[in-house]
């Protein structure tokens, strides 16, 4: 164990140092509490053996400071009390010390303290490691529970949680979000003619294209079998339309052959867009329904296109096609 000795009497210090060495441990020495505190802040020690009365920072204050800063690791603190000065030791224990040693101590007494110290510090170390492992596991299961295993994007659980937060942000801070509901065209036919494994690959490729084509603050979720939902932050409907049509084009340019449609071609994607305004922040369902309507319109008007649902101050929402990007 690594031991720090704080002792202002050079003779007691020498005796203690020789005793610690005899027991086969390393030690660092400080001539008073102030020096000990400085050394401790540089590098933590397993054991501190400290005199009670010292110039500068006294033993009890040194103990309190060490207890206040230690995180994760534990320092076993032993007070040295003068012969006949035992009235102090309870105050020391109350300040956070683990044990005390009376001068002149003998080797067995010191060894007993060091045995207890190594037991306690290794127990603390084990506990700390287990806690870290537990924390890591909790964090990773949290992630796993909210991730679509096939594509790596968020799943419905993450979407539900994010939607609540988004509704609150729109209402409170007036942030603006666009939802883009995306659907692979003729995907059932793709699975039928290429097989489900190829279908999975196509879904993965499209998810990647979505994530790569959007901004860092945007989010992508797997919404259904061949449906993805992208939520674009701080975009106008026009801006989101341009971004989504770029992604649509990128999917087309992946050039994944699709033999199941007539005539045979490549895998494409349709998307429907809608904005969430402060007026209906609490109604994220209605928001997604508008995106769904726009998606339906994109499907009905030929697929491989993006349609936006424009909500007006008065009057019903209108659907309009987003002009295709330059290929």
């Amino acid at each position: 164990v690594k031991i720090l000795i704080a002792e202002d009497d050079p003779i007691s210090m020498l005796v203690l140092r020789r005793a610690v060495e005899k027991l086969g441990h390393e030690c660092v020495t400080a001539a008073d509490g102030t020096e000990a505190w400085a050394l401790f802040q540089e590098t933590p020690f397993d054991v501190v053996v400290s005199d009670w009365l010292m110039p500068g920072i006294e033993g009890i204050e040194l103990c309190r400071r060490i207890r206040a800063v230690e995180a994760g690791s534990y320092t076993y603190f032993v007070f040295m009390t003068a012969l006949g000065g035992k009235q102090n030791f309870l105050a020391g224990m109350r300040a956070g010390a683990d044990d005390y040693l009376s001068k002149p101590f003998d080797l067995d007494e010191l060894e007993a303290r060091l045995i207890a110290a190594s037991r306690v510090t290794s127990l603390h170390r084990k506990l700390r490691d287990q806690n870290a492992e537990l924390e890591r596991l909790i964090k990773s299961s949290f992630e796993v529970a909210r991730t679509d295993p096939l594509t790596g994007v968020g799943n419905r659980l993450r979407l539900r949680e994010d939607l609540e937060a988004i509704g609150a942000r729109v209402e409170r801070y007036g942030h603006r979000y666009c939802a883009a509901l995306c659907d692979l065209d003729h995907f059932k036919k793709y699975n039928d003619s290429h097989g489900h494994l190829a279908g999975d690959e196509a879904l993965r490729a499209v998810a990647q294209a979505l994530v790569a084509g959007l901004r860092k603050g945007d989010a992508v979720y797997r919404y259904g079998g061949e449906e993805f939902l992208a939520i674009l932050a701080e975009q106008t409907l026009d801006g989101a339309g341009i971004a989504m049509d770029r992604v649509r084009l990128a999917v087309e340019q992946l050039a994944i052959p699709h033999r199941g449609k007539t005539p045979p071609g490549v895998v494409t994607m349709s998307a429907g867009l809608a904005t969430l305004d402060a007026a209906d922040a609490a109604m994220t369902d209605a928001w997604l329904n508008r995106a769904d309507e726009a998606l339906y319109c994109a499907k009905a008007t030929g697929r491989n296109r993006v349609v936006a649902c424009d909500t007006q101050v008065d009057g019903p929402p209108t659907l309009r096609a987003v002009p295709p990007s330059e290929g």
Partner: protein
């Protein structure tokens, strides 16, 4: 709580050094390391004159706080070499200094106590030097 050793301002009877304490020191000897008893005795005797002078200076200046602190440190050293008579005299000075620091307290004249301390220190020196020549190579 063990009984405190009785406190007396007269030189204690018997040996100035408790051989059991030196026995404890000997057990701290590492194979191949420096002789612990010789090291401790040399350090103790090397510091003794300076410490006595410092105690006298503090007493003459009427500095009760400094006198108490010096006596406390010397008391710790005395305990480590088994100089129990010296230890008792240091405790006595420490107590006088503590009383003097209380409101309305006065240090009085600790000179006689310091003379006893010097005499006891001399006995300790003789005993430790004998011990040292006995154990030195």
């Amino acid at each position: 709580v063990p009984a405190m050793p009785s406190v007396s301002s007269t030189p204690p009877p018997g040996a100035p050094i408790d051989p059991a304490v030196l026995g404890k020191l000997r057990r701290m000897q590492s194979a191949g390391g420096p002789d612990v008893v010789v090291e401790v005795i040399d350090l103790f005797l090397g510091m003794a004159p300076g410490r006595l002078d410092a105690l006298r200076t503090a007493a003459e200046a009427g500095d009760a706080a400094e006198l108490g602190r010096l006596a406390h440190t010397l008391k710790g050293s005395a305990a480590q070499v088994g100089a129990m008579g010296l230890w008792r005299l240091c405790l006595r000075i420490e107590e006088i200094a503590a009383v003097a620091r209380e409101p309305g307290g006065e240090l009085g004249n600790p000179a006689s106590l310091l003379r006893l301390l010097a005499a006891e220190m001399e006995r300790v020196r003789v005993a430790l030097e004998a011990e040292r020549s006995g154990v030195a190579p």
